[in-house]
Amino acid sequence: MLKNLSFRSRLLLSFWGVIFLALLLPAIYYRQTLSQDIEDDTRSNAIHQLNTAFWLLYLEQPFQSAASLQEWCKTLGDHLGTRITYVARDGTVIADSQVSFSRVTAMDNHANRPEIIQAYKEDFGTSSRYSTTLGKHLIYSARKTNGRGAIPSGVIRVAVPFSEVKRRLDNLSKNFVLAIVVTLLATIFLSYILVRQLEIPIRRMIRAAQAVGSGNYRERIRRYPGKEFSPLAQAINQMAESIETQVQTITEQKQQLEAILNGMTEGVMVLDSGGRIKTTNKALGKIIPDLPTSMGRRPLEVIRSHELQKACDQVIGGNYGPESQPSRLEIVLDLGRVFDVNIVQFGDREEGIGAIVVFHDISELKRLERVRQDFVANVSHELRTPLTSIKGYAETILNEESKGSDSAGDFLQIILKHANHMSKMVDDLLHLARLEAREQPPESVAVNALDGLHSAWKACAALAGEKDMKLENLLPKEGVLVRADSEQLEQVFRNLLENAVRYTPPGGIVTVSSDPGPRMVTFQVRDEGPGIPIQDQTRIFERFYRVEKDRTNHKGSTGLGLAICRHIIQNHGGKIWLESPPQGKTTGSAFFFTLPLAPNKR
């Protein structure tokens, strides 16, 4: 029970205990002794007075009547300051110094008073008692006497009041109680001050310990209340110090780990034993757009791939062992992005098996691989088609020659046409290779794009005339001055116009316009053809890439035009792209390219 009390109350209680023991025991002892002494003293005083009265009674003449005895008693009583009573043998009071004679006969029978009984027995008796007659505490002493004259034999009794001393003694006890109360109150104050002195430094220690507990590891206890507390203070200081260093180490490690994780280009996801996402790194944000909300969810909830979820479940649910192989899979996400995903187990049996999922973006690799495969397939196909024709017609001519036919001229024409096509294709390929190797850095001179457009249109004029097509030229009349190689600029226009003319139905219009920006100018070549499917739009600038998969009808193009355009524009520091269908249209396509503006000559 004491344990639950505060330090202050405990101190107070022990103070009180000590005070009680130190004050009350002697006080009680002294009071007891003192009252005994006082009583003894009074008693001897009473006996002394009784003997005096007895002696005086003998000296006196024999009393004639009870009244004279009463008179004598009264006089003597007044002189001695005591009460003197004469009681007859049968117990009737004959005279009393403090009661008037008329009332003496009405007094109680005194035969059964202890002092009187004792006096008859032993000639002498004493007793201390509260007198109802006088309303006082008195000491009585009585002595047997023989009757003389009118007075029968009986007992003479003297009563000495004891109350005066008793009252003082009682007063003393009362004061004593008051003194104890005052002392106790003083003790409360004293103990408060003492405890307070102890409390303030202890509070400080508590505060320091609390601060350490709540994360302020720098806090130390510098002052403490006493020697006894120094080990405690040191222990707390030591604890704080070791926590500080450990937290520092952990923080550093965590920062390192975070830096490594966030520095990775691969997305990383850590799953706990319940298969929920515990940690992610920054690179994963490219895969999961709302990364912060993904914590605590499952992979399927953030990346819509059932293969991934299945693999994660298998890894987490699988047997743990050092020999467990990392699981690998490829997933395709939105916009055709391909990821190589590695899932590795970690953790142990007790804490549960988690998994680390690493996403490696291999879209670019995949794309390049496909481009390369397609290029090899395409180039051999493109070269083989005319070669087959050449071979076929050459064989025919050889056969026909033996028969003497004269259709050889037509066949030779066809052979020439195919040979020209092949040579053009090889030229284009070489041209492209040179552009790629940047063998010829573009001559950066101011060129008027209008001139380039005009000569390019002239080159397409034959084909355009066949299909009755028109060029709508929306370039400014004075032309647009760009920094470019004039020959290459013309080639870009020619390739784009050729494509536009080739794919637009007869009677259509090809529109060329420009939109100058602060440093670059954007050209647009728009046609009214069928448009280009979305999935082909990103690949159309690849060499030999064709929208139509069947190659029987490729309208005499080499399939390299757009690739050449892209390289030229890139070499000039511009961009080329397309929109199909163009904004606000349902069919057709628009090719855009940018070129740096030439500084204006004034």
Binding site: E301, R304, H306, G531, P533, I534, K549
Partner: protein
């Protein structure tokens, strides 16, 4: 407490299963459309074969829902969630069936000469896919606002379908040889439009789960 925890774990597992089915359905539709647009018969074949997995999953989810309803006596949102999951997976299964239809058309069309480029069909495909994606995302994140967007997109899909139909009718008149291929293309467009409708149903189920209001046939939350 333990019982409560296990119960919420069961609800979580149910959600994961539905998401799994959604992922399978989405990839089936994507593959079918790739098979159609890129003339890739292998992918189309995969869709036709893979449909069985989705069907089995639907049965499995149905069983799970029934067991939860019978054993746990769910209340309020949990109850709506379970009912909503049942509705979502019914619709997902139908979308997967539409994907199979598209794949089958693609298998036929890929053996014939290619029709000219059809940007309208491509647009419709993009819209349908977007609707499906959005409705699944709305289900995943319990977001009624996203579901409402799906509903709003449905009109565009219907309109496009109408346009495609007219376009192909004109085309058939001009090019009699391509009638069969054109009809198959119309069927594909029709399937895509149906996918959009079903995605709208999924979105409606999401609104039912999140807000507790039934907006079937109105699509106005």
């Amino acid at each position: 407490m333990e019982i409560r925890r296990r119960y919420s774990q069961k609800l979580d597992d149910l959600k994961l299963e539905v998401l799994r089915m959604a992922a399978l359905t989405e990839s089936a539709l994507t593959k079918a459309l790739q098979g159609f647009f890129e003339r890739n018969s292998d992918l189309a074949e995969e869709v036709v074969v893979g449909d069985q997995e989705i069907d089995l999953l639907e049965v499995e989810i149905d069983k799970r829902c029934l067991r939860l309803l019978a054993l746990e006596q769910p209340m309020a949102r949990d109850l709506r969630f379970i009912i909503g999951c049942m509705r979502v997976c019914v619709n997902l299964e139908r979308i997967a069936d539409q994907a199979v239809n598209i794949a089958e058309r693609a298998l036929y069309l890929n053996q014939r000469p290619q029709l000219s480029y059809q940007p309208l069909v491509e647009q419709l495909a993009a819209i349908s896919q977007e609707m499906l994606k959005k409705s699944i995302s709305a289900f995943n994140n319990a977001r009624a606002s996203e579901a409402a967007e799906v509903c709003a997109m449905d009109d565009a899909a219907d309109e496009l379908n109408e346009k495609i139909l007219r376009h192909f009718i004109d085309y058939m008149v001009a090019e009699v040889r391509a009638v069969e291929r054109a009809v198959y293309s119309i069927i594909v467009a029709r399937c895509l439009e149906r996918c959009g409708d079903l995605a709208t149903n999924v979105a409606e189920a999401v609104v039912f789960i999140v807000e507790g209001v039934d907006i079937k046939h109105y699509c106005k939350p």
